[in-house]
């Protein structure tokens, strides 16, 4: 549970079990696991901003906990060099009912992608490396969660 930034892999089943056993009222655990897409690349390196990253993820989690009736939420993001197929990120939430859990998990990912200070660099099969460009679709996905009283940033 909680928010973690780490080089090590994580155990999805153990994380989901921990959320599911938080409280006898938990009726739904929804999770998203992001993987390194392998086509054409030999490695993905993730850089982050130590200090700000953890604060940003805590803020995103707190916003989700405030907007949906959740019993708990987990955000784990890996950094360092990862191989194709490796897990990069896990978001998971526990709630009484599935509706809130599905929505909150999607919200966490959309906000994480646009607000948490991580940067991906891909190494291609020919050895060249390039920074991944931000995608406009990620910004529009995050914007749809904006509420009238939410501050623009």
């Amino acid at each position: 549970m909680g928010v973690r930034v780490q080089e090590a892999d994580f155990d999805v089943a153990a994380e989901l079990d921990a959320l599911g056993s938080l409280d006898p009222d938990v009726g739904a655990v929804v999770s998203f696991t992001g993987l390194v897409r392998g086509s054409g690349i030999t490695a993905m390196t993730l850089e982050h901003y130590p200090g700000m990253t953890e604060k940003a993820l805590e803020a995103i989690k707190a916003e989700a906990m405030g907007r949906w009736p959740l019993q708990g939420a987990t955000i784990i993001h890996r950094v360092g060099t990862l191989a194709p197929g490796a897990r990069i990120v896990l978001v998971a939430v526990a709630s009484r009912h599935r509706g809130a859990a599905f929505e909150a998990a999607e919200f966490l990912m959309d906000y994480l992608k646009t607000r948490a200070p991580f940067w991906k660099k891909e190494t291609a099969e020919d050895g060249t490396a390039r920074w991944v460009d931000a995608r406009e679709t990620d910004t529009s996905a995050a914007d749809r969660w904006r509420t009238g009283d939410a501050k623009a940033s």
Binding site: Y49, V89, W119, W131
Partner: protein
């Protein structure tokens, strides 16, 4: 004041962080970038397209017009690509 650079901005400038003492006329993040640009060609090259740069002030998202008074840490970086 500490200035941090990430991703391709860090690579173009050649350092991940540095302590700087800009003159008093440098009042905002935008002023700081203009001042850095004037220092050396590598800064001018890194900040060529300002629309590609995001800002955090004391580890919170901020804008180019954010004031620098009392600020300990300014981070400059490309749009984030985690997840």
């Amino acid at each position: 004041m500490k200035v941090l650079y990430f991703a391709w901005l860090r690579e173009r400038i050649g350092v991940g962080s540095e302590d700087v003492t800009p003159p008093e006329t440098v009042e905002t993040v935008g002023d700081l970038i203009d001042w850095l640009r004037g220092r050396e060609a590598r800064y001018a090259a890194a900040f060529e397209d300002i629309s590609a740069i995001k800002v955090a002030v004391d580890q919170e998202q901020a804008d180019f017009d954010a004031p620098l008074a009392g600020v300990r840490e300014v981070a400059l970086f490309p749009p984030v690509t985690g997840g």
